[in-house]
């Protein structure tokens, strides 16, 4: 295990995790007035964001080691630790979470009018759990945050959601809970296998044999595939998105979807490299289904949010594809894609929110000619539509190209069990170039373009400054990362390279050696 290192001298990760909850507690205890609650929540979220900034500025991008580590005994009886730390893979997501939470809180400023306090509390507590997942280095701690985030999310959809919210929230809850039970079983099994450790880093080093890896991979796979989500366990997502309030969709698309892919990166690949290699064909197949099948489904949607939800699944297909190529380019592309998708999908859901607040409908056919009355909004939505299509100059292009390049030239380990050349896979995936344009721009045409014919649309007013303020940082980030992705790629590089090393080095040789050693030990006596 790597030595504890925290260059900052104060527990920055704990602070990032618990500041929102502490703030929530204070708000709950002392504030009554809705406006005061809004401002207080905003201040807390901004403060959390500021706290997370040193993670990037003090980050040592030359090493793949965990940084800003903290370690305390938690449940000594089961050897459970409160162990935190981030590397280049998780650190960007901590900052992404704290940034998107601000946007969520501001976006709810006007449109949430009932139970404002509870709403803000739910978001702040959600932030705690989300950052917690990305920082946890102890499997039980990870599982704790992983499950805990369901509760605020469940409430956000269930209380402030649309008409069909009960069905959606139940579906969301059962799917994710059902998936993560298998993860817990796998973790507990690992605990016994490794002789009583819940340390994620220890699992990475332990030489599991193949049979063992096989079953553990499947257990993790179910948990993570539901979260990504991957076909065929994806149907909860369009429902959850459609019924969730705008900010709920933003955080769902921006962060929650990344959990599944993050799980693959943190658990499956480094702990179970041989099984990961074995299951490459499965992962590739499901990724291609996400890219092609889901894109076609997205094209036919009549509900704005549902369309963007399906488009999210398609984009996550690129992430899972890149993850299982085991090359630095694809790996960095996949992680970069998760970050970029966090901005683009979040912004698209915010766009729908802007429309929904005015029209109270998500039906595409209710719109048409919106550009006539909301020119600024039209420009913003067009911008993010083009980013969704992954035009060069947007961050999504960098991600897509890197994943495709990596897929075109995967590591030999990814090819061990593949029946066909990965070149064909890359070409199939590249069909997304066409399909994403089809569903995104057709939607843009039906919503923004055309003559003003519908009475309701005629009365729309353009975005307010507050609404524009939500988009401004996202626009800047998408363009900035589109032209200058190097700072982020640089942060990812060492950790992604290390992860590729882990995923491509078989544990079986070690396991065989250990078995041999044990046998020798026995016979020696």
């Amino acid at each position: 295990m790597e030595s504890l290192q925290n260059v900052l001298g104060f527990p920055i990760l704990s602070l990032s995790i618990f500041l929102p909850t502490a703030g929530a507690l204070l708000i709950w205890l002392f504030l009554k007035n809705d406006n005061a609650v809004r401002w207080a929540a905003l201040i807390v979220s901004v403060a959390t964001f500021i706290v997370t900034i040193p993670l990037a500025t003090s980050f040592d991008s030359t090493t793949a080691h965990m940084q800003f580590e903290e370690m305390h005994q938690w449940i000594p009886m089961f050897n459970v630790h409160y162990q935190l730390g981030v590397d280049g893979i998780s650190m960007p997501f901590v900052i992404l979470t704290s940034l998107l939470t601000i946007i969520c809180i501001v976006s709810a400023w006007r449109c949430i009018q009932n139970r404002v306090k509870e709403y803000m509390l739910a978001f702040l507590i959600l932030e705690t759990t989300l950052i917690g997942v990305f920082c946890a280095l102890d499997a039980i701690l990870f599982y704790f945050f992983w499950e805990a985030m369901l509760i605020p999310m469940f409430l956000i959809i269930g209380v402030w959601g649309g008409q069909n919210r009960v069905y959606a929230t139940l579906k969301f809850f059962l799917y994710t809970l059902g998936g993560s039970v298998l993860m817990l079983i796998a973790v507990i099994a690992m605990y016994f296998k490794t002789g009583g450790s819940f340390s994620i880093l220890a699992y990475m080093d332990y030489p599991f044999d193949f049979q063992w890896q096989f079953w553990a991979f499947l257990a993790f796979f179910v948990a993570f595939a539901v979260k990504v989500p991957m076909w065929p366990v994806h149907t909860w997502l369009p429902d959850a998105h459609t019924e969730a309030p705008t900010a709920g969709s933003v955080i769902l698309a921006g962060i929650l979807l990344k959990m599944g892919a993050y799980g693959f990166l943190r658990f499956s690949l480094p702990m179970l490299p041989d099984a990961s290699q074995y299951f490459v064909p499965l992962m590739v197949g499901l990724s291609l289904i996400a890219i092609v099948y889901i894109s076609l489904v997205a094209m036919m949607q009549t509900d704005l949010k549902r369309l963007i939800a399906y488009s999210s699944i398609a984009h996550m297909g690129f992430v899972t594809l890149g993850t299982f190529m085991f090359t630095g380019i694809a790996m960095e592309g996949a992680i970069f894609g998760m970050i970029s998708h966090g901005f683009v999908a979040a912004a698209l859901f915010l766009c729908v929110g802007v429309l929904y607040d005015r029209m109270h409908t998500r039906e595409i056919s209710a719109y048409g000619g919106v550009a006539n009355v909301m020119p600024v909004f039209a420009v913003v939505m067009m911008f993010f539509a083009m980013a969704n299509v992954a035009l060069p100059g947007a961050s999504s292009f960098v991600a897509e190209v890197m994943v495709l390049l990596g897929t075109f030239n995967p590591s030999p380990e990814a090819m061990l069990y593949m029946p066909i050349s990965m070149k064909w896979v890359a070409m199939m995936a590249a069909i997304s170039v066409i399909l994403s344009a089809c569903y995104t721009l057709w939607m843009v045409k039906r919503v923004l373009m055309g003559n003003l014919e519908k009475e309701e649309v005629k009365g729309l007013s353009d975005m307010t400054m507050r609404e524009f303020g939500l988009f401004a940082p996202l626009i800047i980030l998408v363009v900035w990362l589109g032209f200058y992705p190097l700072p982020v790629l640089d942060m990812l590089h060492a950790s992604a390279t290390h992860l590729v090393d882990q995923a491509t080095s078989s544990k079986l040789a070690d396991a065989a050696l250990i078995a041999q050693g044990a046998a020798a030990h026995v016979t020696g006596h």
Partner: protein, 660 residues
């Protein structure tokens, strides 16, 4: 990363794309404050300055100056580096002047054409940004800068076709243009991926330097059971991109529809610059295409088919802009044939002359459309020469240039392409190309002058209420026409006599080593050895005369003939009028099936099977059924499932602990 090699001023080079970009941002972001006058002053001046700088660069390049270097690292990962840099050589330089000069003319023209439009500053912003993108496309020094420019011009083309977003046909045309272009981009992207895969770099110089040894190593690829050279695969994939952007069969369907956009952009984007990007790309990548006979044959055949097919469609169209649009597809086919038969310099030469005369044709057509109150049907025009003398004369120059009548520009370049197709021996491929192009010349001359006569001569069919309005356009429109008329008249002679553009020698020729031609392929070299013959001995010349003569007979003398022919051959006429039914075909084989498949996956697979069948039928319902039995213990819903699961987990935990 290659070292910077330069004899040119870097700042001057950077200013050329930067000026239109800054102007575009100014017009786009602050157009509301700048008002019409300031908006067009800023953008026009920026583009004119870019044109002046480009000419300066061109003059320096003529003296042998060049530039090669990187400014910025775009993407970087293990063994993968994408810089943003520039490469200036004669090929780039001639593209730069063509783009900026036409763009400057179109900018000025737009002041008059778009006057009073509510989207005035938006329009200027788009066309300036387009100019920037096009400059990036031609000036870049690697495949990704090319791709960046490629996609950016596509974006602005989309935005400009759908500029009048209230009009439904314009929105459909824009969507169609973008999606069909994306089909091409799909091929392009795969070509770039393969290039990186096989060469380990995307830098032009490094790739070009490695091609010959790469081919010798004999890399092959199994494509659906067809064993092909890797270089052929790369070139064919890239060429799919070129087909999309340059409107070649079968990806040509978007280009005629793009005429829904305002006329200035039809001239700038869909005639002179963007659509020629494919030709530029093939010429730029000549060091790769030259090593694949298959790819060259494909380029030749696709070009020849497009040149011929679009000419046949152009014969019967009645929309003035569509006639010219089909002519653009057809002329682009000529340029591709030039590249396919390895006469790249002839292709680029035709690209340049075509840019002048075709943008002139469009702008003149725009002037006409402006005069007759947005009417585009040539059957409702006639005798307009009386009202619009400048438009009339400039359009005549453009029409003669397009038809290939000496000494107008088109003659020199088109004649050269046809001769090159004649002397180059590629078996049946070059023969097919030669005859397709030759018959294309008759049709080109015919449809051009059919359109011309019906518009400016023939009988006066302008509706009475429009007639009061018909007048010559203001100076801001006619002056750009006159400037372009100079190009349409003289750029051919300028190219042949001043630049010696067709000289195939690497040392003395205009293009030097910017274009690569294998010795065994060089048709221009063969032509060089043949004695120059006078124009009246050239076959294409007589073909053009024949086409014009036919149009003269049909629309001056025997006015009843066209209608009679159309009714006699009504099947053929309908086939051509409906553009060979490509749209209908695509609707049947792509659009409908994709929609059906999408609906099927959604309604049947997602909702019926996964949601209702598996989840509800199996998992959820059995949980609910089990829960119903335990109803007495239950008061709520989800919490209880969670509770049950926690109990289960604890049970499992206990079991595992006991087992251990």
């Amino acid at each position: 990363m290659g070292e910077t090699i330069t004899t040119l001023n870097t700042l001057e080079l950077l200013a050329i794309p930067a000026l239109p970009l800054i102007a575009a941002l100014a017009a786009g972001l602050f157009g509301w404050a700048l008002k019409e006058t300031l908006t067009h002053w800023i953008t026009c001046l920026a583009v004119i300055a870019a044109a002046a700088l480009s000419i300066d660069i061109f003059v320096q390049v003529l003296d042998g100056a060049s530039f090669y270097g990187n400014f910025w690292t775009w993407m970087l990962s293990d063994g993968f580096i994408v810089p943003i840099g520039m490469m200036i050589d004669p090929l780039t330089a001639i593209m730069m002047i063509t783009v900026t000069i036409v763009s400057a003319c179109v900018h000025i023209y737009t002041i008059g054409y778009m006057h009073g439009d509510p989207g005035y500053s938006r329009f200027f912003s788009y066309i300036s940004a387009f100019t920037f993108s096009m400059l990036v496309l031609v000036m870049g020094n690697n495949f990704f800068t090319l791709f960046f420019g490629w996609e950016a011009v596509g974006l602005f083309s989309y935005l400009l076709i759908g500029f009048w977003f209230k009009r439904e046909p314009a929105n459909y045309a824009a969507l169609k243009a973008f999606i069909v272009n994306r089909v091409g981009d799909f091929g392009f992207l795969i070509g770039v991926l393969a290039t990186w895969y096989y060469f380990g770099t995307v830098d032009y110089h490094q790739v070009f330097a490695a091609v010959s040894s790469f081919v010798l190593e004999g890399h092959t690829l199994n494509f659906l059971g067809w064993e092909m050279d890797a270089i052929t695969f790369i070139c064919l994939a890239l060429f799919i991109g070129a087909m999309g952007k340059s409107g070649q069969v079968p990806l040509h369907v978007w280009l005629p529809d793009s005429m829904e956009g305002p006329t200035p952009i039809s001239a700038l984007i869909h005639a002179a610059t963007m659509v020629t990007a494919g030709v530029f790309m093939v010429a730029r990548l000549s060091p790769m295409f030259e090593f694949s006979e298959t790819a060259l044959a494909a380029v030749t055949l696709v070009g020849a088919l497009t040149a011929w097919m679009c000419a046949t469609i152009g014969l019967v169209q009645n929309d003035i802009k569509r006639v010219i649009a089909y002519s653009t597809c057809s002329q682009l086919g000529y340029m591709f044939v030039a590249c396919g038969v390895s006469a790249y310099s002839a292709g680029i030469f035709h690209l340049m002359t075509h840019a002048y005369f075709k943008s002139l044709l469009f702008l003149a057509a725009g002037s006409v459309i402006h005069a007759v109150l947005a009417e585009q049907d040539i059957r409702k025009m006639g005798q307009l020469r009386k009202y619009m003398p400048i438009t009339y004369v400039t359009m005549l120059i453009a029409a003669l240039a397009l038809s290939g009548i000496p000494p107008f520009a088109g003659f020199w370049s088109k004649d050269l392409i046809i001769e090159a197709a004649m002397v180059r021996d590629m078996g049946w491929v070059s023969d097919v190309a030669y005859y397709a192009l030759l018959s294309g010349v008759v049709m080109t001359a015919f449809y051009t002058f059919r359109m011309f006569f019906l518009t400016f001569h023939n009988t006066d069919r302008v509706p009475a209420e429009t007639k009061a309005h018909v007048h010559e356009s203001p100076k801001v429109i006619t002056v750009p026409l006159m400037i372009l008329a100079i190009g349409a008249f003289g750029s051919g002679m300028w190219g042949v006599y001043a630049l010696d553009i067709t000289n195939p020698e690497v040392i003395n020729g205009f293009f030097g080593n910017a274009l690569f031609v294998m010795d065994a392929h060089n048709p221009l070299m063969e032509l060089e050895h043949e004695p120059h013959h006078a124009f009246y001995l050239s076959m294409p010349f007589w073909m053009a005369i024949g086409g014009i003569g036919l149009a003269f007979v049909f629309y001056f003398k025997e006015s009843a003939m066209p209608a009679k022919l159309a009714s006699t051959f009504s099947g053929v006429h309908a086939f051509l009028l409906n553009k060979w039914y490509w749209d209908e075909l695509y609707e049947k084989i792509f659009l409908r099936p994709a929609q059906c498949l999408g609906t099927f996956f959604w309604q049947k697979a997602d909702l019926a099977i996964i949601d209702k069948g598996m989840i509800h039928g199996g998992i959820v319902d059995s949980v609910l059924a089990g829960a119903a039995k335990l109803r007495r213990m239950q008061t709520g819903m989800v919490y209880h499932y969670a509770y049950g699961m926690v109990i289960g987990v604890f049970g499992l935990l206990t079991w595992l602990m006991l087992k251990a």
